[in-house]
């Protein structure tokens, strides 16, 4: 579709079309919206895009997004050190924080086991998780991967791996929309799933 346009407009449509959830028509609509906007507004958008890459990085402990070496949650001394909640993506941390059900720490895997996309355990931050668990402070690992096929596979892989370590390994209760992403669950449903979490058999 962008072949109908030339130069800078075509480039912008092509770039926007790479974004998740933006189809060719959407990309075209955003591009013309940008063209019609004030220069100052466009500059602010461009600056926000540049700053997010320059300032935000990943927490060295948990893998969450952070503006320093460690994220806000990892430096918070009021959090409970005996529980770790394992999630796929930083956006899942945000979803769980909204429920206010959980006061422990997080560990972000950076995805789920997915052979089609070439992602196995070694491509995820599982080794880092094992290191964090080594000193025995953590007594419960709550696995909150997405309620879909890849999330289930990851959860069951982790529970097999952690089963022999003398930890409680729990999984969020069912009731989450099946096949979906954790981040799309509403706060009440997700909070209930947290409260009703069940022990996984190794």
């Amino acid at each position: 579709m962008s072949t109908a346009y030339e130069g800078a407009v075509a480039d912008l449509i092509a770039e926007l079309g790479q974004l998740p959830g933006v189809g060719p028509k959407g990309a075209q609509r955003i591009a013309f919206h940008v063209l019609a906007s004030d220069t100052a507004d466009v500059a602010r958008l461009a600056e926000a895009l540049i700053q997010v890459k320059a300032r935000v990085r990943f927490c060295v402990v948990c893998g969450n997004v952070a503006e320093a070496e460690k994220c806000r949650i990892c430096v918070d001394e009021r959090r409970n050190d005996t529980q770790i909640c394992v999630v796929e993506e930083p956006r899942d941390v945000v979803a769980i924080e909204r429920t206010r059900e959980f006061r422990g720490r997080y560990h972000v895997l950076g995805g789920a086991i997915n052979p089609i996309n070439g992602i196995g355990p070694d491509e995820l931050r599982i080794r880092e998780l094992m290191t964090r668990l080594a000193d025995g402070t953590v007594t419960e690992v709550i696995i909150a991967t997405d309620p879909n096929v890849e999330g289930e596979a990851t959860a069951s892989y982790l529970s097999r791996l952690l089963g022999s370590m003398g930890l409680a390994v729990t999984r969020l209760a069912s009731g989450l929309p099946v096949g979906g992403d954790l981040e799309y669950a509403d706060e009440i449903t997700l909070g209930r799933a947290f409260e009703g979490r069940v022990t996984m058999r190794a």
């Binding site: 959830g21 189809g23 028509k25 086991i113 997915n114 052979p115 089609i116 070439g118 196995g120 355990p121 070694d122 879909n148 096929v149 890849e150 289930e152 596979a153 069951s156 892989y157 097999r160 929309p177 099946v178 096949g179």
Partner: protein, 417 residues
């Protein structure tokens, strides 16, 4: 139930079409390629949530458009409801019931039920096992919408596991899988060995997932075959004049793949009945699938395919003791195919969903049949609450199915009777 109003937006060739359709019999008549099948296809989609002509949704969206919308007013008893499905190119579909969005698309399933007869139905008899598996699964999902997610989860697990088998087989680099696996356990490792060991470590997890979802699907299909069986026998009797009873049995790859020393499950009728009984229990099937996968692992790694599971199963059709495939004549094969659709209709109207008859769709099917089968089929379907049929020429519509008529020409739909 019947569909009283249908509105399509950017569905197939139609930018916009709105129709009021009566209960009873309605024919859509027009030359091929003018859009008559697209109309009934949209109603079939509301029942099965898939098209009887294509396996992906993309061709249903009019060229150059982002979404197609099917909207139907449905009369079930005295309760009318409006179902609306939005098919999005490349994104998740959306559904509304009585104008309210539903959280999951399958929450809109079960409002419309439909049975589609089409020229391709001959493949139910003559085609590969995947055609019969799809027949069973489409029917299952209409009867129990919850199973739609079991079915799609299974497809996903299978794809993931097979990809893993292929990649684990590839890094094996020509050595026998058995020795590679043994070496893996003794901890020998090169960089290829590392990739292999990562793959093998997750294979157990995918085996468990395949067994868990696959066993549910198998148990549901076997239950369906048992419920279908009496309807199939009587439908065949009504549609054909031939002697012999039409029977169907579920052939499970997990049963076939048992070790050589296990007794042949299908040796005697009573053994076959016992074997079927066992397949109704998901826990039993799950354990069998796990056992088979662990036994077949070297072979699966070598070939890069998943060798057991519902994706390798079939429904065997037997007519008077002989397999239909390969033995039945063209006409007899058609009788069996029609019996399968008629049996689906009986099953869908008979359970307690509360909507009465499903919509019966006969897409261009009369031209395929000889005079005798045409007349019998027409007589059998005529009493249904709503029959929608398409035909290239009005003369192909049997006299028993005289009713309302729309002419369809170049995307224009005109009621002529």
């Amino acid at each position: 139930m019947h569909v009283s109003d249908l509105a399509l937006t950017d569905f197939r060739s139609y930018p916009e079409v709105v129709l009021a359709i009566p209960a009873g019999i309605t024919a859509f008549v027009g030359p091929n390629g003018q859009g008559k099948t697209n109309l009934v296809e949209s109603i079939g989609y509301l029942g099965a949530f898939s098209s009887h002509r294509v396996s992906s949704d993309a061709p249903l969206v009019r060229q150059g458009c982002e979404r197609a919308v099917i909207r139907a007013r449905v009369q079930r008893g005295d309760r009318p409801s409006v179902v609306e499905l939005e098919l999005n190119a490349g994104r998740a579909n959306k559904a509304r019931v009585d104008r309210a969005p539903v959280p999951r698309i399958r929450d809109a399933a079960g409002i419309v039920r439909s049975v589609v007869f089409a020229p391709e139905d001959l493949a139910l008899v003559k085609g590969d096992p995947d055609v019969r598996r799809r027949f069973l699964d489409d029917l299952l999902v209409q009867l129990t919408p919850r199973l739609a997610s079991v079915r799609s989860d299974y497809d996903r697990v299978l794809k993931q596991r097979t990809t893993l088998l292929k990649s684990a087989g590839a890094v094996r680099g020509g050595r026998r899988a058995v020795s590679a696996a043994a070496e893996e356990e003794s901890g020998g490792g090169t960089s290829a060995g590392g990739a292999r060991s990562a793959a093998l470590r997750t294979l157990d997890v995918w085996d468990a997932q395949l067994a868990a979802t696959g066993s549910q699907l198998i148990a549901a299909r076997v239950d369906l075959v048992r419920r279908l069986r009496p309807h199939l026998a009587s439908a065949y009797e009504q549609v054909s004049s031939a002697q012999g009873e039409l029977a169907v049995t579920y052939r499970a790859s997990v049963t076939q793949a048992r070790p050589d020393d296990a007794p042949d499950a299908l040796d005697s009728p009573s053994a076959a009945a016992d074997a079927e009984e066992e397949l109704l229990r998901p826990d039993v099937v799950e354990a069998r699938l796990l056992e088979a996968m662990s036994r077949l692992r070297p072979k699966e790694l070598e070939r890069g395919v998943s060798l057991v599971g519902p994706h390798r199963d079939d429904a065997d059709l037997v007519l008077g003791g002989m397999p239909v495939k390969g033995y039945a004549s063209h006409g007899e094969s058609w009788s069996v195919a029609l019996a399968m659709r008629l049996a689906s209709f009986e099953l869908l109207r008979g359970d307690d969903w509360g909507g009465g008859d499903p919509v019966l769709i006969l897409d261009d099917v009369f031209a395929e049949l000889d005079g005798r089968r045409r007349a019998r089929l027409a007589a059998l379907v005529a009493p249904a609450e709503q029959v929608l049929l398409t035909s290239a020429v009005a003369e192909d519509v049997p006299a028993e199915l005289d009713g309302a008529r729309f002419d369809v020409m170049a995307g224009e739909v005109t009621r002529v009777r």
